[in-house]
């Protein structure tokens, strides 16, 4: 059986339930147990998606460049360089180089862990912007503009624009003859709700919009198994990730842990039938 997985970042189970978002709920939906990052105390997207792909809890550390955690320091240096450029007339390109360092790196799948799903179905699957496979960092680049002095409204608008493009590109994905599994990821609603979470009306607009999109995508893929999965939720009291994920499906399935998807997807794609 062909399977389309729409992987979302940060979709909050409780809002989907409370707001009665039927498109996102599909035929069945529920909470997912996801790993909680030992350092931060919250689920971390790279860790959760690595777990999804490996089929077991990935605890490996995802290395970051030294300067990534020194953003505030870099901001001070950049301000100094800006003054220098005004005085001397040029900045020797140091600012641009520092900005490159400041960009969040695209994390690599931990080498010591087996990427079970990718290796098992490599020939029969296609991935769109999926973590550790072909994920780009455009959404992070946009949020970084806040540090460059861009107004929040501008950044929010740009993120909505990216969200619109992501939806269109995901809608365009087709199985073709050889592909049995499509994994499509977008960094929404998380990247937007980290900014707008205190304005519940805006969050509602975003979730309603997502509900409409998922309804349409589900209609397009009604012949296939269509699954929505999210790596964690969002705590709107505190503005942080909530410690459970989300899943829904257009056919009755029962999955309780994010790591169970790996084996489940391989079985469904290889077995040809949905066994529940």
């Amino acid at each position: 059986m062909k399977v389309f997985v729409l992987a979302l970042d940060g979709l909050e189970y409780n809002l989907v339930a409370e707001w009665g978002l039927k498109g996102l709920q599909q035929t069945c939906f529920g909470k997912l147990t996801v790993p909680v990052n030992e350092k931060t105390g919250y689920p971390s997207s790279p860790e959760v998606w690595a777990t999804f792909l490996a089929g077991k809890h990935v605890k490996a550390k995802f290395k970051k460049r030294f300067l990534d955690s020194k953003s505030l320091l870099i901001e001070q240096v950049l301000k100094t360089l800006s003054v220098l450029r005004k005085v001397v007339g040029k900045g020797f390109g140091l600012g641009r180089k520092l900005r490159e360092f400041q960009r969040p790196p695209l994390l690599r799948f931990p080498e010591q862990i087996h990427n079970f799903l990718l290796n098992a179905l490599r020939e029969r699957m296609t991935a769109y912007n999926f973590p550790f496979i072909n994920n780009d960092g455009i959404s992070f680049d946009i949020v970084h503009k806040l540090q460059d002095g861009s107004p929040v409204e501008e950044v929010v608008d740009e993120l909505w624009g990216l969200y619109g493009r992501r939806k269109s590109e995901i809608w365009d994905l087709e199985f073709g003859d050889d592909v049995d599994l499509i994994l499509a990821f977008m960094h929404f609603p998380d990247i937007l709700q980290h900014i707008i979470w205190e304005e519940l009306r805006e969050v509602h607009r975003l979730y309603e919009d997502l509900d409409v999109f998922v309804s349409a995508l589900g209609e397009k893929h009604e012949e296939e198994l269509f699954i929505v999965v999210s790596d964690h939720g969002f705590d709107f009291e505190k503005g942080v990730h909530s410690s459970y994920g989300f899943y829904s499906s257009n056919r009755p399935i029962k999955i309780s842990r994010i790591e169970d998807f790996c084996r489940f997807l391989i079985e469904v794609v290889r077995g040809g039938e949905l066994e529940g």
């Binding site: 009665g20 978002l21 039927k22 498109g23 990052n37 350092k39 931060t40 919250y42 971390s44 990534d68 955690s69 953003s71 969040p104 992070f140 949020v143 970084h144 806040l146 540090q147 107004p151 929040v152 409204e153 950044v155 929010v156 608008d157 619109g164 493009r165 939806k167 269109s168 995901i170 809608w171 365009d172 980290h194 900014i195 707008i196 205190e198 304005e199 009306r201 805006e202 309603e208 509900d211 409409v212 999109f213 309804s215 349409a216 209609e219 397009k220 503005g239 942080v240 990730h241």
Partner: protein
């Protein structure tokens, strides 16, 4: 306008043509149903398919709506059509409806629901295109792109269910679709004459102005009072940067 939305509407139309034999389309002369008519006719003509039977205008139309519908029928060369007030209504409907608009529920029942159901049954319509949108109905989320109905048995087809109000106006602008002149007189939602009122006394000069107006309404208040330093700080704490 996001490109997937028009593609999805066309997907729904294509599924309708695959599933149903006799198709009809409810076209009030308002913006949404005119967008839907434009799409369905375009799809049918591109693929050499039979055009749906178009049910034009309202039970109690504005003269402007009636004239607009006639002009579109001429311009778009629509051959397969009926007019609601002329071809669907019977004297008994008008008698039971009473004074138009005085008892809205009863009026809608006798001038809209019953005549349409009788028409669907008499013409053995299997699928009826209807231009509802999720964002205009509080219960919209419960509707589906294909919604089976009983008595008479048929399926309501909703190709633009996923459109927003601004999507509809963008589609009109991008495709240079002529609109009902009542919109320029300040009406934004059209229906039967007794129950339709303008929302803007000074009216609108152009479709561009209407689009700006509805976009502004939709975006009111976005991004105000958000502290960006706090946003970055919280994101860092979660391990993002």
């Amino acid at each position: 306008m996001e490109s997937w939305k028009v593609k999805h509407a066309e997907l729904v139309v294509s599924k309708a043509y695959r599933r149903f034999g006799r198709l009809a389309l409810s076209w009030s002369g308002g913006k949404d149903s005119t967008v839907m008519l434009h799409m369905v006719l375009g799809y049918a003509r591109r693929h050499g398919l039979e055009e749906p039977l178009v049910i034009a205008s309202d039970p109690i139309p504005f003269p402007e709506t009636e004239e607009y519908c006639r002009s579109i029928i001429r311009e778009w060369n629509i051959k397969n059509y009926v007019f609601w007030s002329r071809d669907l209504l019977k004297p008994t409907h008008l008698t039971h409806a009473g004074e138009p608009g005085s008892d809205k529920l009863n009026c809608c029942l006798w001038l809209k629901v019953k005549p349409l159901n009788e028409f669907i049954a008499e013409n053995r319509i299997e699928g009826l295109f209807v231009a509802i949108r999720w964002d205009e109905h509080l219960e919209g989320g419960k509707e589906k792109f294909f919604s089976p109905r009983e008595q008479p048995s048929h399926v309501r087809i909703h190709p633009i269910l996923h459109f927003t109000l601004t999507d509809t106006w963008r589609y009109i602008l991008e495709n240079e679709i002529p609109v009902n002149p009542l919109y320029y007189k300040g009406y934004l939602s059209l229906g039967c004459k007794p129950c339709t009122v303008p929302v803007r006394r000074k009216g609108f000069k152009s479709v561009e102005e209407i689009l700006k107006y509805v976009e502004k309404e939709a975006k009111e208040g976005i991004g105000r009072s958000i502290d960006k330093e706090l946003i970055m700080e919280r994101l860092r704490k979660l391990g993002y940067f």
